[in-house]
């Protein structure tokens, strides 16, 4: 019992360290890839290909002053960035990186991860409110409405997969994809989940709560130093979490020939993360009303339809001799 707890603790610490490093490296990859997309160099001075740029940035952010706006609600202001980053780390606790390689193979793993994604809204809204800044406030209002709209069909879009796999546990869902990846059986669900994932991770093109043209930096206008870095850490971890969920649900998780499971998992997550960056470079932001009406009027009914159709097909399939 004690040995088991110690092992879980050790694994958690290793995982958190790996995730923080991955998020750091991701910032470098993103800047570098965006540079190529936009025909400029990107960071290329620190280390080979500028690879050590993220370490230099971290050192800079740690040593910068973490300024506090004079009217701010101190406790909420300090707590908000933590509330963005910590649920994301907790969400990874149920992700299965390989056969049996998960901190917890929770019975309700998928719903737990979705719940953790849903909790980011509090960090953003609290930060926006505590800053006592008009731009931040507008960003917070946008974030609350957007995250609600996109969470609504995030869950529904992946219920088709749950129906097919007959389980909410990450490991079981991966094992159910031995023959076909679920992206082949649930193409609409996969597309909807990906769109919802961009919305839930509040990445471009769906980052109207921090769109710099009209809101300076939205909810994190007042933040600097490490608090600012924590918001970004939360955002990058959210991207990695959504990519991990997408890999688990639709791309067969750790399954693949020759290479060991976790390597396949990492490769797939890397490809999805690359698509996130690609979309950021390729697509303009929609108008806010377009963003919200797309979620409620198009995506949510489509997700319900997908679930209904999957249910019918499965019922007929199973009833057939």
């Amino acid at each position: 019992m004690i040995l088991q707890s110690l092992l879980i603790t050790l694994f958690s610490i290793i995982l958190i360290a790996a995730l923080l490093t991955a998020a750091g490296v991701f910032t470098w990859v993103e800047r570098r890839v965006l540079g190529f997309f936009q025909e400029r160099l990107g960071p290329n001075r620190v280390g080979p290909f500028g690879f050590l740029q993220w370490i230099a940035d971290t050192v800079k952010l740690i040593t910068k002053e973490d300024a506090l706006p004079p009217d701010a609600d101190v406790v909420s202001y300090r707590l908000a960035p933590v509330l963005v980053a910590v649920p994301m780390l907790a969400g990874f606790g149920v992700v299965a990186f390989g056969p049996g390689l998960a901190i917890s193979s929770l019975d309700m793993g998928l719903m737990f991860a979705m719940g953790m994604l849903a909790l980011t809204v509090y960090g953003i809204v609290l930060g926006a409110w505590a800053s006592r800044n008009r731009y931040a406030m507008l960003g917070g209002l946008r974030a609350a409405a957007q995250l609600l709209a996109y969470e609504s069909f995030l869950g529904l879009s992946l219920m088709g997969v749950v129906l097919l796999a007959g389980s909410f546990t990450m490991g079981d869902i991966v094992l159910a994809q031995q023959d076909y990846w679920f992206i082949l059986l649930q193409p609409l669900g996969a597309v909807l989940f990906f769109i919802a994932g961009i919305g839930a991770a509040h990445r471009l093109p769906f980052d109207l709560q921090e769109s710099e043209q009209d809101l300076v930096a939205g909810f994190m206008t007042e933040y600097s130093g490490m608090s600012f870095a924590l918001f970004f850490l939360g955002e990058y971890l959210a991207v990695l979490l959504v990519a991990s969920l997408f890999t688990t649900l639709f791309l067969g998780g750790w399954l693949g020939p020759f290479l060991p499971g976790p390597v396949w998992f990492g490769l797939k997550v890397g490809i999805i993360a690359f698509v996130f960056i690609w979309l950021r470079a390729a697509l303009p932001r929609p108008r806010y009303d377009q963003l919200i009406s797309f979620a409620w009027k198009i995506a949510l009914p489509l997700a319900l339809l997908n679930l209904l159709a999957t249910g019918w097909i499965l019922a007929v399939w199973r009833a057939a001799p």
Binding site: S76, M111, L119
Partner: protein
Amino acid sequence: MIGWFPLFLGTVALVSAALTVTRPSVVHGLMWLVAALLSLAGTFFALGAGFAGAVQILIYAGAILAVFVFVVMTFDASPPALARERLRLKQAARGPLLMVLALGLPLIFGLWGGAVASGLAPGGVVPVQAVGGLLFGPWAVAVEIASFLLIAALLGARHLVRRDPPQDSERHAP
């Protein structure tokens, strides 16, 4: 028998609930409500009711309270408004606090009586399939009645946001 972990989380939930109704700032109160709901979810998980716990996080903490926050963050939180609220709370907080105390008694007696087991989920974990089977088996009628409530709420919302067709006198030339 009940584990230490659910007891601890239950206590946290009660304290957060008390703080929810006694904070002068509405946003602070709501954040304590979030804390109460999350510790309640943790209690469910620790008692082996994973489905209830996940739904608690996803529906209550993730969706319903997010709507509350959306409205409440636009309220007046200036020092004079807070002072007024504090004055009002002096009288009004007694009832809820007594309620919390009453709810806390079983916890205290439980500890006193030594009804505490070690380890998580002493009663075992309830699988999702069992919950689903119960909800859509013996309790199907109750579930459907609850869904009527939701449909009524949906129709109400539809009615509230309905726009009347413009009258002739109000219609503007294009």
